[in-house]
């Protein structure tokens, strides 16, 4: 017998894993640099297109794994360029509002450049499993979806280990906690900015490949991941990495269960209801620490 409830939980966890991955990048950049990057989902779009072109060139497993690596590297590099060229000059000179406006401008620019260069035709990534489905009695899904979920989990765990064990990772966390104190401790703050933005963008790129594998790839695809990443980031507490990880899954499951048992039409509204409730009741998010 199949269970609607379990099926929806599985659907929610799979989508949630990708939300988490993309949101972690966003929240890292916010935590360290206090930048709300509205173009974050468009970095995912660029990652997805890198996968499209690589998979056209090298099909199958090699291409898929390769495209994850290439998307992380390519979008990470793009992140360094954008951080150095666009955001860093603004960090000291302008106000928060300027940063928000610039990132919205970046989002419009990237979307339109993508349509100009890649065309509007929607594309999908070919499934190296050849579309094998997995029917486990209570729930059904595809091998590819399970792999995307597993991949997201692996990347998140590697990131957690890196941030807590590696020297650079600890320095990033220190900067997020207190920029001035970190600087006084001899941390090269500009290097931290570059690494954080590169890492955050690379995560967006990886998330984009997974998102593109689950769904479809087209120039405006970045808008939904950006929106969801902001919901997740607010839910988890702005700048809180572990909060973003858990909140991604919470949002994924809340959307599918809300869609099933409350109203299908309001599935997207659930995220916004969550934002409003969180900001009203617990402004620092479910996992947030209070500002000192």
């Amino acid at each position: 017998m199949e269970s609607l409830f379990l099926q929806q939980v599985v659907n929610g966890l799979i989508v949630g894993s990708v939300y988490s991955l993309i949101a972690v990048g966003l929240t890292m950049i916010f935590g360290v640099m206090r930048i709300s990057n509205f173009a974050h989902g468009d970095f995912s779009m660029v990652g997805a297109y890198i996968a499209v072109f690589l998979l056209a060139w090298v099909p199958g497993w090699m291409g898929w794994v390769g495209s994850l690596l290439a998307a992380a590297a390519g979008v990470g590099l793009l992140g360094i360029l954008v951080e150095r060229g666009v955001f860093r000059p603004l960090l000291t000179r302008w106000t928060d509002l300027d940063q928000i406006m610039v990132s919205i401008g970046l989002f419009i620019l990237m979307e339109n450049l993508a349509q100009l260069f890649f065309g509007a035709t929607p594309r999908t990534l070919s499934d190296p499993f050849g579309g094998v489905t997995v029917n486990m009695g209570l729930v059904s899904t595809s091998a590819m979806r399970l792999l995307c979920f597993a991949m997201a989990m692996v990347i998140i765990i590697v990131l957690e280990v890196y941030l807590n064990r590696a020297r650079m990772g600890v320095a990033i966390q220190a900067t997020a906690q207190n920029r001035t104190a970190a600087q006084l401790m001899g941390i090269n703050i500009n290097l931290i900015y570059a690494v954080t933005f590169a890492l955050g963008s690379a995560l967006a790129g990886l998330g984009g490949v997974l998102y593109g594998t689950l769904f479809a790839i087209y120039p405006t695809m970045g808008a939904i991941p950006t929106l969801k990443a902001f919901v997740v980031t607010i839910l988890g507490g702005m700048g809180n990495i572990r909060g973003a990880i858990f909140s991604g899954f919470i949002l994924g499951v809340a959307e599918t269960l809300g869609g099933t048992y409350i109203s299908m039409e309001y599935k997207h509204a659930i995220g916004f209801v969550i934002i409003i409730l969180v900001l009203l009741i617990i402004p620092n998010g479910l996992f947030g620490r209070s500002e000192k």
Binding site: V15, I108, L109, A120, P122, T124, F215, A216, T220, E265
Partner: protein
């Protein structure tokens, strides 16, 4: 969006060869950016072919045609802004193009208020032509015409006991649902549930999981290319089998590239020009299209875009020499449009008193596989059928991957 709109305005105002007489301006609206940009570009490719042919033969009454594009992004507010700009700033004589019912309901009203003839190319909501607006025409069949064939097929062949709706949340989806709901009542099919999704949605697993519990014989799914393709793929991932029925606009080249064999058994109504190659006019269109765009196959939107501009050019020709008084000339073109009697790539084009074309008849098609390659085949009515209807089989029994 703004950047692209600018690029569209600067780059795509396609003027005719220099030195010729002053061009006649025609405004074309469409969702050239956003999730429907691909389909809109198909419409545009059809129009550019028509423009080549018209201007290649010396234009209209010695004057070349000039197309000025306005981007609607499939949003009524943007559409109204684009239409107003075309009508008042560019002073176009007539408005063509289309796509997205909700947008065209709004833009046609704007044009009508400005007493400018508007010829809607794509968008099938009946509302567009049933409000008694005197300057509104439509070269595409409306949804009752599109769905008539499917209604007959449901009553005579499929006779479903249970159905469900999974529709785009727009006039396109909701109008289609009204028509099918009425037909289901007539033939005694029970409507189990109705779900809606938003244009641009990508994750449909929640709705499909719920549909799977309901087990409808037929699931009506009005959706455009990207959404329809994702729904088919996710249905497979969730092991859900049903007879999908859409309007047919989703069956584009991009759709088949996205779905592969997964789209097998899906049905819709179609005006695919490549399925009507027995018709010499349609065949000539397909040939000319493939000559201009090597390697691509004209779909329904290319054909509808082509016919749309051809109808406009023909009316301009019959309207005769223009006086230069914009209001008078627009009235003249409106009167000429009423008397349209053409044979084009979709079939005969004549307008009823409401401005709705009543001479184009779509057929019922089903996606079937030949050597694992999906394509649509006409299955109804029997007189036009190229294949027999096939019942959807469980995913485990399907061979092609």
């Amino acid at each position: 969006m703004a950047l692209l709109a600018l690029a569209l305005c600067l780059g795509l105002t396609l003027a005719a060869p220099a030195g010729a007489a002053e061009p006649i301006k025609v405004g074309i609206v469409g969702p050239f950016t956003g999730s429907l940009a691909h389909n809109a570009s198909e419409m545009k490719k059809g129009m550019m072919l028509a423009l080549d042919q018209i201007n290649g033969q010396g234009g209209v009454n010695g004057r070349p045609l000039e197309l000025i594009f306005g981007d609607t992004s499939c949003k009524p507010a943007n559409g109204v802004a684009a239409a107003k700009k075309l009508l008042s700033r560019d002073k176009v004589l007539v408005l063509g193009g289309g796509y997205c019912s909700s947008v065209n309901i709004a833009t046609s009203e704007v044009a009508n208020a400005e007493k400018t003839p508007v010829v809607v190319a794509i968008a099938i909501s009946p509302t567009i032509t049933n409000r008694g607006l005197k300057y509104v025409f439509r070269t595409s069949p409306n949804s009752p015409m599109f769905l008539q064939g499917i209604n007959n097929w449901l009553a005579e062949v499929k006779k479903p006991k249970t159905v469900a709706f999974f529709m785009e949340n727009s006039d396109y989806g909701r109008d289609g649902q009204k028509i099918w709901e009425a037909q289901c009542k007539k033939i005694g099919a029970k409507v189990l549930d109705s779900f809606y999704f938003e244009i641009g949605d990508t994750d449909f697993t929640t709705q499909i999981s719920k549909l799977k519990q309901l087990k409808p014989d037929v699931t009506f799914n009005i959706a455009s290319t990207t959404e329809a393709a994702l729904i088919q793929k996710q249905a497979k991932e969730l092991n859900f089998v049903t007879q999908w029925i859409g309007v047919g606009g989703q069956f584009t080249q991009a759709y088949f590239k996205m779905t592969g064999p997964v789209s097998e058994f899906a049905m819709g109504s179609s005006l695919e020009p490549t399925k009507a190659m027995k018709d010499p006019v349609t065949a000539a269109f397909v040939k000319a299209y493939q000559k201009k765009y090597p390697g691509s196959r004209p779909g329904i939107f290319s054909s509808q875009g082509y016919d749309n501009l051809m109808v406009i050019a023909d009316a301009l020709k019959r309207a005769g020499k223009l006086s230069g008084n914009l209001a008078k000339d627009r009235d003249k073109v409106r009167d000429a449009l009423k008397a349209t009697d053409l044979k084009l790539s979709q079939g005969a084009i004549k307008f009823g008193p409401d401005g709705q074309v009543f001479t184009v008849y779509p057929s019922v098609v089903q996606v079937q596989l030949k050597n694992c390659q999906p394509d649509t085949y006409i299955i109804y009515p029997a007189s036009r059928a190229a294949a027999k209807y096939l019942e959807p089989t469980p995913w485990s029994k399907r061979q092609c991957k």
